[in-house]
């Protein structure tokens, strides 16, 4: 199971509760189901030389928030 709360006040805070994560920024819950993999990126802190990407969620645009859950 997963839960995503995408904070709408502009602070870019994420809460998630999903399968295993490959995560660079965000909050991970260790009690994930083994068969699920999820990723959440807060791309707002990305520089133009550090690429974050996993399984379809790619932070391509610098200084903008990119987030997602997938497996």
């Amino acid at each position: 199971m997963f839960r995503v709360i995408f904070d709408r006040n502009g602070t870019g805070v994420f809460d998630m509760n999903v399968g295993e994560t490959d995560i660079n920024q965000g909050t991970a819950d260790p009690s994930f189901e083994a068969l699920e993999t999820a990723v959440i990126y807060d791309g707002s802190q990305n520089s133009d030389t550090v690429f974050y990407g996993f399984n379809g969620v790619n932070a391509c645009v610098a200084s903008r928030i990119t987030s997602g859950v997938t497996r």
Binding site: T49, V50, Y52, C60, V61, S63
Partner: protein, 178 residues
């Protein structure tokens, strides 16, 4: 019902478009269908707003795959080995991020973002793709999923490529609503 898309205005909550497809009949308020891409914009907005697309399937169900495409109307140059597109006018980008383009055979080619010596952001492909335009692609797949991505290109498209789930999509400007 086999599938449906809803496209919502973020601030008002109004459903801008909806398509649903049954076994024999397709009902659409916009000119799209399950198997075709849903175009959310066709040109670059002439304002200072920052735009975003959110896409999600919130409940467990059958397997699906949904994609967001952010495409740039730029002309590429081919040097005999590689094709480069300068997308610097659209913003700043992350080096080595994946970009995609079709080649003359209609096949999807993957490239990367490179930063030139002059500081330009280039979409680079290892073959001649000058007949087509580059794009970013984001996807979520599985039994449920969520994406929230900035859109900075000229054309924004969403599509459920696999599956028959109801996928909710919002296209909106960033601000208090993000």
């Amino acid at each position: 019902m086999r599938s449906s898309f809803r496209v919502m205005d973020a601030k008002s909550g109004e459903i801008l478009g909806r398509v649903s497809r049954t076994g024999d009949e397709e009902v659409s308020r916009l000119s799209f269908s399950h198997n075709d891409p849903v175009q959310l914009r066709s040109s670059l907005p002439q304002d200072d707003e920052k735009y975003r697309i959110e896409l999600w399937v919130g409940e467990e169900g059958s397997e699906f795959k949904a994609v967001i495409v952010d495409m740039f109307n730029v002309v590429g140059s081919y040097d005999g080995a590689r094709t480069s597109y300068d997308i610097s006018s659209y913003g700043t980008f992350i080096e080595d991020a994946p970009v995609f383009c079709l080649n003359d055979a209609g096949e999807v080619v993957e490239g990367v973002i490179e930063i030139s010596g002059g500081g330009a952001y280039l979409c680079v492909f290892d073959e001649d793709t000058t007949g087509n335009e580059p794009y970013f692609m984001y996807f979520t797949e599985g039994s449920k999923g969520f994406l929230s991505v900035p859109v900075v290109g000229d054309v924004a498209v969403v599509q459920q490529e696999e599956g028959e789930r109801e996928v909710t999509v919002r296209y909106f400007t960033e601000g208090d609503d993000v």
